[in-house]
């Protein structure tokens, strides 16, 4: 196992665990609060209860997990002086950020 494999695997695992803990606590909180009430998909988006905020935070952490993986690999390739792959991963990060914050 290379250092890069260990670090990238750890980044992914950390992101997944943190986001699922946030989502799990928010989800359980929401369910306990709404015991027995009928379901309304789409209606809760605007109402910002604490439980919903926790779930949303978890989802954001999840979305940023692969992005953090790409950012980390740029640093690792820099350290290895693998310039072609520095460029490759840099391009991917730029496109990712562009499409995340792009003109929509």
């Amino acid at each position: 196992m290379t250092r890069m494999e260990i670090l990238i695997s750890m980044t992914l695992r950390t992101g997944v665990i943190v986001s699922s803990l946030l989502v799990l606590s928010g989800g359980l909180w929401y369910i306990l609060k709404h015991l027995g009430t009928p379901l309304e998909v789409g209606a809760v988006n605007s109402s910002g209860s604490n439980a919903i905020s926790l779930i949303k935070a978890g989802i954001l952490v999840l979305v940023f997990t692969p992005i953090a993986r790409v950012a980390l690999s740029i640093l690792l390739f820099l350290k290895e002086r693998d310039w072609l792959f520095v460029l490759i991963t840099l391009w991917v990060l730029v496109v990712l950020l562009f499409s995340l914050y792009g003109p929509w």
């Binding site: 928010g26 789409g42 988006n45 692969p66 499409s99």
Partner: protein, 277 residues
């Protein structure tokens, strides 16, 4: 249906989606969308939003294991991400120019054909030897090692430029149609670049998280990612992805190819129906 029943049943279905998604390299979305729309009557936009979350969850959850175990070829994955991300931009700009129905129809037929050839070739696997690799593979250091039943084996890569081209197409399709990029990724690596099957699926799995994260911005902005639908999906899919990653090392390639063939045939039906709508 009240919240608990909904959350629990979606959770259980999502475990299955994550399991299949992690084993085939397609992500959980292929199963999550029809599950939510047909079984739970969630509207398509929120189903697609939850599907996007399920793809990122399957990808990151399973990849953390696959990378560590040495299945994923990260250099190939990152190299090909250049093509998929560029393709996704082109696909998004072609939205409204290219006839979406026609593209979906052709893609559906391609998937049927690929399902058939995957099924037929399921008992056949040979590794490209590193000496027979595409000359470009040496320059980019794309050959790798794979754990097999008979110990660690070295493998080579063929047709890197053709694979790169197909990956741009995969990116375009996901930009244009919203789904299906995992199938093209696996097929490009398995069929064209001649990578070992488990390397193709785990490297596809590694890449689809990035493809999905790129679309997350617009989905979040439009409010398609509903927290109430997404939370049981995400937790279930993650559990399924971890289980899938545990099963993959001992799973025979022929069985994995069979499951893959069934799933992309279903995806093909989904595409053709979409086209005829």
């Amino acid at each position: 249906m009240n919240d608990i029943v909904f959350s629990l049943s979606v959770f259980v279905g999502s475990v299955f989606a994550g399991l299949i998604g992690a084993l085939t390299g397609l992500g959980g979305g292929v199963i999550v969308v029809p599950l939510l729309v047909l079984l739970f009557k969630v509207d398509l936009h929120h189903a697609l939003g939850a599907s996007l979350i399920s793809v990122i969850a399957t990808s990151s959850g399973a990849a953390s294991a696959y990378v560590r175990e040495g299945y994923t070829n990260m250099r190939i994955g990152m190299f090909l991400e250049v093509a998929t991300t560029a393709g996704a931009i082109v696909g998004a700009t072609l939205l409204g120019i290219l006839p979406k129905h026609l593209v979906a129809f052709i893609f559906g037929l391609v998937l049927f054909h690929s399902a058939y050839t995957s099924y037929k070739s399921r008992h056949h696997e040979e590794f490209v030897s590193p000496e027979n690799s595409d000359p470009l593979a040496k320059k980019l250091k794309l050959t790798g090692y794979l754990p097999t039943g008979e110990g660690v084996r070295e493998y080579g890569v063929k047709n890197i430029l053709a694979g790169f081209g197909l990956m741009s197409l995969a990116g375009m399709l996901s930009g244009l149609l919203g789904i299906g990029s995992g199938a093209v990724k696996v097929l490009a690596m398995d069929r064209v670049m001649r990578l070992p099957y488990k390397v193709s699926t785990t490297t596809s799995n590694f890449m689809i998280g990035v493809t999905a994260a790129a679309s997350a911005g617009i989905y979040l902005k439009k409010g398609y990612i509903d927290p109430i639908v997404s939370f049981p999906v995400m937790l279930g899919v993650l559990l399924g992805a971890f289980l899938g990653a545990k099963l993959l090392p001992s799973a025979p390639t022929s069985k994995l190819k069979l499951v893959f063939a069934i799933i992309i045939a279903l995806l093909g039906i989904q595409m053709v129906l979409e086209a005829l709508k």
